[in-house]
């Protein structure tokens, strides 16, 4: 079986391996340059952008010289999806397309053993390739993470466990769609579409709700928040700010219209805005998830996508077992 699986899927495995390898080498080269900007390692500069002059300079150069790579990489959360869908789509669809399922399942290997071997090997390849891709990408992003934290979309979706879960999700959808549609290419498309459709609501709606966010509330300082150098603010750069704004003295949140009215009033009165706000007891609030929730959130989101994949694979196994294919 091992030889057969390799022979049948070596094209996909080689193409994906080559892609991941090329991305990996490019990222290693670029990443080495980016890492060299931080003599003591990027982690030492975490949160020091506005404090430590050397770190600030490093971050400035990082942004100027490598910022475009970071922007480019934001779209790479789709790479695991491509890996998973590319391996899953032909698993059953190609056999059904060419009629070779009738050949494969009338040899002495029972169909359930055939299916189990294929699913295990190809899912394993998807996990391995995605894991390698994620490892290089995570390393590459270390300087950026030291600057921006790991909760931004271009970090959270590309690092840790989540990419592997995306790959397995795409693998499951593509395999199931291939079993039903009996065509590889539409199955690939379905997997891609399903991921995009699932990812939007998950990232925008579900992810902030994995845990109850924390809230800070403090009076507007007289000097204004921009002059706060040296003071480690809460929430910090690495936390995931979900919402922020102003509230009145009782803690009632002000709408932005109300805030602009206050701003206009301050301008008309000719006073400093911060002093004006401070005098009226206006407070700043922030709703956020602390940075140390990163792995909890990764686990929750990974479990979510892997659960869907498991259900779909279960459906495929059930259909093959019942000889409905």
């Amino acid at each position: 079986m091992t030889w057969l699986i390799w022979r049948q899927h070596r094209t996909e495995v080689c193409v994906l391996g080559l892609l991941v390898g090329m991305f990996g080498i490019a990222l290693l080269v670029l990443g080495t340059q980016a890492h060299d900007l931080f003599p003591g390692g990027p982690a030492r500069c975490a949160g020091e952008a506005g404090i430590n002059e050397a770190c600030a300079a490093s971050f400035r150069r990082l942004d100027e010289e490598h910022g475009y790579v970071e922007n480019l990489l934001a779209g790479f959360y789709l790479v695991p999806v491509v890996i998973g869908a590319f391996l899953g789509a032909p698993l059953l669809a190609r056999e059904l397309e060419d009629g070779t399922w009738q050949l494969a399942w009338t040899q002495a290997v029972p169909r359930m053993r055939w299916l189990a071997a294929k699913l295990a090997v190809l899912a394993g390849v998807a996990v391995t390739l995605t894991g390698m891709f994620t490892a290089v990408l995570t390393w590459f992003r270390q300087p950026f993470d030291a600057w921006e934290g790991r909760f931004q979309y271009d970090a959270f979706d590309l690092e840790g466990l989540v990419p592997v879960a995306y790959a397995l999700f795409a693998f499951g959808v593509a395999t199931a769609a291939g079993a039903i549609l009996r065509r590889s290419l539409p199955a690939f498309g379905v997997a891609f579409g399903a991921f995009l459709a699932a990812r939007m609501p998950v990232a925008l709606l579900a992810r902030p709700a994995y845990a109850t966010p924390l809230t800070t509330m403090e009076p507007v300082p007289v000097g204004g928040s921009k002059d706060q150098a040296g003071h480690r603010s809460v929430p910090s750069f690495a936390d995931w700010m979900i919402e922020h704004g102003y509230a009145d003295a009782t803690g009632r949140r002000l709408s932005w219209t109300e805030y602009y009215e206050l701003e206009g009033a301050a301008n008309r009165a000719g006073t400093n805005l911060n002093q004006f706000l401070h005098a009226r007891g206006i407070q700043q609030f922030g709703v956020y998830h602390p940075a140390d929730r990163f792995w909890t959130f990764q686990l929750i989101e990974a479990a979510l996508f892997i659960a869907v994949a498991a259900v779909l694979i279960g459906v495929v196994v059930w259909r093959v077992r019942r000889r409905m294919i």
Partner: protein, 299 residues
């Protein structure tokens, strides 16, 4: 006969797809050894029946027993006793012929590599060619060599020659019959072409509208059926229920009767019937349940 002397036994087998029944009330007992032809028009349920026999499908009703074993079990042992050649002889088109053989070796308990290589060498099919670049006839031969190398007890072929040109068709049947002559294998194959069957087959199953309408040993069937030709008459001649078909021309009435014992009435001439005419007569009959005529096995 004991159970294992039957290559195939089905009992009340039916298969329903979402669009309806493809096969109903199929009860068969086909003897081991020899060649069995499954005949019927397109859409009669031949492919469904054959897929049930090799375990690719599960029956909606009834049981299928191949060489004395329930096929739904699908153990490596039961699978290795049956060879299957699906319609249009699917193969992995990007594999070389040698890789196809390696596939057979990797996926079977026993695989006679030497036998397959000898067969292909005899046919002049090079092992290093990609399967997709071979002609249709050569692909069919590769698929056949693959199925025969399993040394199956039952070889099932779905329309094996339908897509082949006359020359390739002849070559294919020659190889197939050669394998049968070497012994040990029962062949069950489907066809919508009746002609040429007489030469190669021992047993016949006629399938129409998802039901078995005729089954039996070919020699026995031919001996049992006669054509009676006489003056045109409109009266109901089917006193004994033995008339399969009555055809009236301007002056004559031709009856196909099943019971060979009925003596021809005065003025009527008895003639033997050709296999093709016999099959066509049964295919033209309106489909009615439990009208299957069984012969041969019971005799």
């Amino acid at each position: 006969m004991t159970a294992t002397e039957f290559a195939l036994r089905t009992d009340g087998v039916g298969k329903r797809y979402r669009r309806g029944w493809a096969l109903r009330d199929c009860t068969l007992a086909l003897p081991a050894g020899g060649v069995i032809a499954l005949v019927g028009p397109n859409g009669a349920g031949k492919t469904t029946l054959l897929r049930l026999v090799v375990g690719l499908l599960a029956p909606s009703t009834g049981t299928v027993e191949v060489l004395g074993h329930d096929v739904t079990a699908s153990t490596p042992q039961t699978l290795s006793r049956v060879g299957f050649l699906a319609q249009d002889h699917p193969l992995y088109k990007r594999f070389t012929v040698a890789e196809m053989l390696r596939f057979g070796r990797a996926c079977n308990l026993r695989f006679d590599q030497g036998l397959a290589e000898r067969r292909l060498a005899k046919l002049g099919i090079p092992l290093d060619r990609k399967v997709g670049t071979l002609s249709g006839g050569q692909q069919a031969q590769v698929a056949l060599a693959l199925a025969l190398a399993k040394r199956p007890h039952l070889l099932v072929l779905d329309e094996p020659v339908a897509s082949l040109d006359p020359l390739a068709r002849h070559e294919f049947l020659q190889v197939l019959m050669g394998a049968v002559a070497e012994g040990g294998v029962t062949v069950l194959f489907s066809s919508h072409v009746v002609h040429e069957l007489e030469r190669v087959c021992d047993h016949l199953v006629v399938l129409n509208h998802g039901r078995v309408t005729l089954t039996g040993d070919i020699d026995t069937l031919l001996a049992e059926h006669r054509l009676l030709v006489g003056p045109r008459t409109a009266t109901d001649l089917d006193r004994a229920g033995a008339v399969v078909e009555a055809v009236h021309s301007d002056r004559h009435t031709t009856l196909l009767v099943r019971d060979g014992a009925i003596p021809a009435a005065p003025g009527w001439q008895a003639q033997p019937v050709a296999l093709e005419d016999l099959v066509l007569a049964y295919l033209r009959r309106p489909s009615e349940p439990s009208a299957a005529v069984t012969s041969g096995v019971a005799a």
